[in-house]
């Protein structure tokens, strides 16, 4: 099959970008989308043109490295699928596809389809953890967790941090990402002691990173490769409101060794 690709090319973070059209000729419907880009890139190198930069690694839908917009949809048209697991049989021969990087103030473009998602790491740094130094843990079965709680926590913990939720959100909001981590840890008994601080600090970090606010549109859950739902956003809202009406503990300081 043949495809026509209109790809965003941008030399580096400071350069101006533009769309360039490429033809992917005689590609197989059994290829993954990224394998098709590999083929296009090999041809580009053959013509001494710079290959298209795109992020990828595991190519089995779990590392969260890959992702870009295909015709205005994050990770393309197939639900619950990252671009590395999206195969060309999803498309029709002769299709015109527009490939754009995630666009958000918090995700500056580094090159072509590659963006900097460091903002997600900084949200986690603000509180997306349970403080449990190695060596201090009680026996694993000393903490009982109801099965339904852990299953729900897992649904949230499945987040791969790809950024599709931000990319698809009309407000470029990081609420689904933040909600997933707040819910994962907040649903477990181990996460209770830090629950209020966690949600306050993570939401503050999220706002600092210049993500937009949530307007409950649900675009994020529609593109999430792990199909995490906005019910977790309701949970995040609930936790933040509850935490805001409770007393604030003194700020954490670095452990003095």
């Amino acid at each position: 099959m043949n495809l026509t690709l209109r790809v965003w090319r941008q030399k580096n973070a400071h350069a101006r970008g533009r769309f360039v059209t490429y033809e992917a000729r005689n590609v197989s419907p059994d290829m993954s989308f990224l394998e098709m880009l590999d083929v296009v890139n090999e041809e580009l190198i053959g013509r001494e043109q710079e290959p298209i930069a795109f992020e990828h690694d595991c190519r089995e839908g779990i590392c969260g490295a890959c992702g870009f917009m295909i015709n205005g949809i994050a990770h393309g048209p197939k639900r619950g699928t990252t671009v590395c697991q999206l195969h060309l049989r999803t498309f029709r021969d002769g299709d015109h596809l527009t490939l754009e990087p995630w666009r958000a103030k918090a995700f500056p473009v580094i090159k072509d389809l590659v963006v900097d998602r460091g903002a997600f790491d900084r949200i986690i740094q603000a509180g997306g953890f349970i403080s449990a130094p190695a060596g201090a843990a009680p026996d694993a079965n000393a903490i009982l967790v109801p099965k339904e709680d852990v299953e729900l926590a897992f649904d949230a913990a499945a987040c791969i941090g790809c950024g599709a939720c931000v990319a698809a959100c009309p407000n470029a909001s990081a609420m689904l990402f933040t909600a997933a981590k707040v819910s994962h840890l907040g649903l477990l008994p181990q996460g209770q002691p830090e629950r209020n601080d966690r949600v306050r600090n993570m939401v503050a970090a999220m706002d600092r990173e210049m993500f937009g606010g949530c307007t409950n549109m649900g675009e994020c859950q529609a593109v999430c490769p792990k199909e995490i739902t906005i019910a977790f956003i309701a949970r995040l809202n609930h936790d933040l409101l509850a935490a805001s009406f409770k007393g604030r503990k003194p700020p954490r300081t670095a452990a003095s060794p």
Binding site: A106, P170, D207, G213, T215, M217, G218, A231, A242, R248
Partner: protein, 226 residues
């Protein structure tokens, strides 16, 4: 509370609480509107009662003014938060996509901001029209406190009725997303069954408000109310 307002979620919570107040007003207003079908006398005396609620403990229109101030504050906060959140959103995506496609977002959800602007303009028109009689009437047609007559005369002009009907559909859309959204924002609908309940509640609220309010201009134009 100030700390809460400084977060994006806090602003959303303010929109949800004020939205709740405004939704309550809209529903009550709609129920009051339906009294027009009980005839001129009942409808006019309802209008008088509104101004005398709490009498003799409260003076003339005092209760009404308290309500009006609450509503005014709610509207101001609702719009203020909306403007700030909108500006945040625009700042959060300085470079727009060449192409976007909505998958999940409803038409109602995508039109909240412009819908809000339209509703603000409508409310201003509506106050100038029925409360002050400043627009939509030939000179001398509008008579203060002849509420029933003013409505009948006002809606007899077909394009005024048409404008009201369009505005009520906009209001219904705003409520369809807004009512569901306020529970989402306040974090009370975290489990599946509740989520279905609130979705249904939002649908019913918006339909009832649309149909209830539209019945008045339709009634006038159809000659049922005269």
């Amino acid at each position: 509370m100030i700390a809460l307002w400084s977060t994006s979620i806090g602003k959303k919570a303010v929109m949800a609480v004020t939205g709740f107040i405004l939704t309550g007003f809209v529903v009550a207003h709609m129920l009051g509107n339906l009294k027009i079908f009980q005839g001129e006398e009942k409808f006019n005396s309802y209008a008088v009662w509104l101004r005398e609620v709490g009498s003799p403990a409260l003076g003339h229109q005092q209760f009404l003014w308290v309500l009006r101030l609450i509503l005014l504050a709610a509207v101001a906060l609702h719009i203020g938060a909306a403007v700030q959140l909108t500006r945040m959103s625009y700042a959060a995506r300085p470079v727009r996509y060449r192409r976007t496609e909505a998958i999940h977002a409803t038409y109602a959800a995508r039109t909240m901001r412009w819908g809000g602007v339209i509703l603000t303009l409508f409310v201003m028109y509506h106050i100038l029209h029925f409360t002050f009689g400043a627009v939509g009437y030939a000179p001398g047609q509008y008579r203060p406190m002849s509420v029933y007559r003013n409505v009948v005369v006002g809606f007899s002009v077909w394009y005024v009725s048409a404008f009201y009907i369009v505005a009520m559909i906009a209001l219904g859309l705003h409520l369809y997303h807004g009512v569901w959204s306020m529970f989402q924002t306040l974090g009370v609908n975290t489990v599946g069954a509740d989520r279905f309940f609130f979705r249904t509640l939002a649908t019913v609220t918006s339909l009832v408000v649309i149909l209830g309010n539209i019945s008045v201009p339709v009634g006038v134009l159809a000659g049922l109310v005269r």
